[in-house]
Amino acid sequence: MKTLNVSISPHIRSSKTTSKVMLDVIIAMSPAMIFGYFYFGWYALLISVLSVSSCVLTEFVYEKLMKLPVTIGDLSAVVTGLVLAMCLYSTAPWWIPVVGGVFAILVVKLIFGGIGQNIMNPALTARCFLLLSFSRIMTTYPTLTDAVSSATPLSLAAQGQPVSYAEMFLGTHSGSIGETSAIAILIGAAYLLIRRVISPRIPLCVIGSTVAFVALFTLMKGETVTLNYLAVHLTGGGLLAGAVFMATDYTTSPVTSWGRIIYGITIGLITAVIRCFGGSFEGISFAIITANLLTPIIEKLTYPKPLGTYGRKAEKK
């Protein structure tokens, strides 16, 4: 008889693996990205390819140099690259995604210990780094020959102009590569929810609280809040993509269920403050990386109560 294997229970495992989870995220992001490629042209595709390959290559080279096990197979670097490309404009020069990818993986992810160890979302931190370092390049909206306007919905709304609902829903307006089409992002969100990759808590709290706080702050400023204005805030400025693909990043969001709610509302609050009182429309990116830093403390405050602690009364008897 062959030698029997002995190990501690459980003796069966689910078929989910890290790379399958990451593959699900990639699949979920593809509708929004593919829409972006069609709408903004082949150069948008080039930006994603550059971004993804610089992320994967950085991880590979770093791990080879440091004689660490190579982890590019888990596809998390691909996800980082796609998220970075998603929130860049298609007008960016070729070196922007390359610099961003290297920064995201090397500085934000690997130096902190690799997958699961980084304290901020790598792609968003790289985006904010690029935004602050090369602000003029990074804020040049793509001008489209066939589009109604070259301004983003949020900047239109800031000037008090109404934006068409169809345009917002389909995403036929200027903006970042993967962030314009609400419908494409919602398809991705539905896929992630059906596959149970993410829980609905974070996206719902982020979206709900952003809209609520924007309405509140606008009223506080003494301006009128119209439905169109709120719809623009809902679909514009990368809120949907941020809530679905970026705020839900496993590593940098809390794992407790109440923690996820608090985290989502924090992001909404910061986004609304930046959008209403600040000058930038990139509120969601800054809000997410700020909330990322609060994750450990949110988790500590919301440590789950074990099943039996509700039974203390019976214990005293």
């Binding site: 501690i8 099943l307 019976a314 214990e315």
Partner: protein, 443 residues
């Protein structure tokens, strides 16, 4: 159909179709029988026979070694060969009485004498359960007479029959539901006669509709008895989880079910109680499911306790493939064995033979997906507990309620990074409990 359940848990392919259609077969052992002294939780039993003694079927061969302990009764007639250490399925050695079977099945006087439980006092009933050596037959093996000896100031509201059988592959309780539901209901009535205010609930997972129907039928119009279908989800059959699902009461690791007014008994245990009290038959046999993809004919055997497991596997048609892993119990909480030369215990519900060793993938870095939190039926945070356990930070481990872990293994099962969460947590928990025991002994 309203299915009660709990928060957390995992959905596992139950694989019960392999053996659920096989009627229980009575098995007559051909070889020697080995009665281990540590078949239950608590103090090991103390042998009261010597090598060379003739023992009869139904004769007590070992007395309880303390309050939390159980007697052991011979399942055959024959001669005692040795009283010596023998290997057990958990890799340990324990004192065991080996009996050479004479195949006569001569019984002791009074074996099989029918009694009317309604004429018996509670002390007599508990005495009969104790003498029969009944322990929890679901797997933990807690002596049943201790469970039934509830302090008079505690009021028991519910007697719960645990018929969840949530572990994949195992079908012994399911077959009993189909074939001996009347006996289980009788057992429930006997237990209810001890607790006048209590109602009896049969909690059965909804993947056993025929079982639910049979038990419902056996319950008849008795208004004290009810059958509650439970959602098919692992670990529905965990004692604390079961109590929460059925009564909304919650207990923790420092409490007994009685503290929440509950007594939880396995389906097989109820049948053993009925046999012992009403039919005068002590616990000498149990149903063992022999199943898995490496065995020829998956079967459910009614085997005498002490039967060699290798014999049972032979009776199930032997190996179809050479197994890489053999598990005593279910695949989620069972123990992997390195030899088949071990006896059937009072708690051996299943012998699972697997063609492939499925469960040792390389662990990777945690991606903090939080799946382990969502599946934990005790609402713990396995990812943090593992970190403290691996760092040997036992103070923090206890502070984070690590001792509440029931070891169900859901966190390890679900982890996409294949981390060995429950393994680390169980090890730390055992260490902390051992330290506590030592500290208590010093005092």
């Amino acid at each position: 159909m309203i299915k009660k359940t709990f928060r957390g848990g995992v959905h596992i392919k139950d694989m019960k179709h392999l053996s659920s259609g096989c009627a229980i077969k009575e098995y007559k052992p051909s070889g020697e029988l080995v009665f281990l002294m540590n078949q239950h939780i608590g103090a090991p039993a103390v042998p009261c026979v010597k090598p060379g003694d003739r023992v009869l079927l139904g004769q007590t061969i070992a007395e309880p070694g303390g309050f939390v302990s159980a007697a052991i009764v011979s399942s055959v007639s024959g001669t005692v060969k040795t009283v010596a250490a023998h290997e057990c399925h958990n890799g340990d050695n324990a004192l065991a009485v080996t009996v050479v079977n004479d195949n006569l099945y001569e019984t002791v006087e009074g074996y099989g004498a029918e009694r009317d439980y309604t004429q018996m006092s509670p002390e007599e009933i508990i005495g009969a359960v104790k003498a029969a050596g009944i322990v929890g037959m679901g797997g933990a093996g807690f002596p049943t007479h201790v469970k039934l000896s509830v302090k008079p100031d505690i009021k028991i509201d519910y007697v719960i029959c645990n018929g969840a059988e949530c572990e994949p592959y195992i079908t012994c309780d399911y077959r009993l539901m189909l074939e001996q539901a009347d006996k289980a209901v009788l057992g429930m009535k006997i237990v209810l006669s001890l607790f006048k205010d209590a109602v009896g609930i049969f909690g059965i997972e909804s993947n056993k509709p025929e079982g639910i129907a049979k038990v419902n039928e056996a319950c008849g119009d008795d208004e004290k008895l009810s059958v509650v279908p439970l959602k098919k989800k692992y670990p529905q059959g965990g004692e604390r989880v079961m109590i929460t699902a059925l009564t909304k009461r919650r207990i923790n690791s420092r409490m007994l079910p009685a503290d929440a007014g509950c007594v939880v008994l396995n389906f097989s245990t109820l049948i053993a109680i009925a046999d012992a009290v009403a039919y005068g038959k002590p616990l000498t046999r149990r149903i063992v499911t022999v199943t898995g993809d490496a065995v020829n004919e998956p079967s459910n055997f009614d085997a005498p306790i002490g039967t060699n497991v290798a014999e049972l596997v032979e009776a199930a048609g032997g190996f179809k493939y050479e197994p890489e892993k053999i598990i005593f119990g279910g695949p989620m909480m069972g123990a992997a064995v390195y030899t088949l030369d071990v006896p059937v215990n009072k708690t051996t519900s299943c012998i699972l033979l697997l063609k492939h060793n499925t469960a040792v993938p390389e662990p990777h870095e945690c991606i903090r997906c939080g799946k382990c939190l969502t599946v934990c039926p005790e609402h713990l945070m396995p990812i943090k507990l593992k970190n403290t356990a691996d760092a040997n930070d036992y103070g923090e481990f206890e502070k984070l309620n690590g001792l509440e872990c029931i070891g169900c293994g859901c966190c390890t099962y679900i982890c996409p990074a294949k981390r060995r969460l429950s393994q680390s947590i169980t090890a730390a928990k055992q260490f902390v409990l051992a330290e506590k025991k030592k500290a208590a002994a010093k005092k």
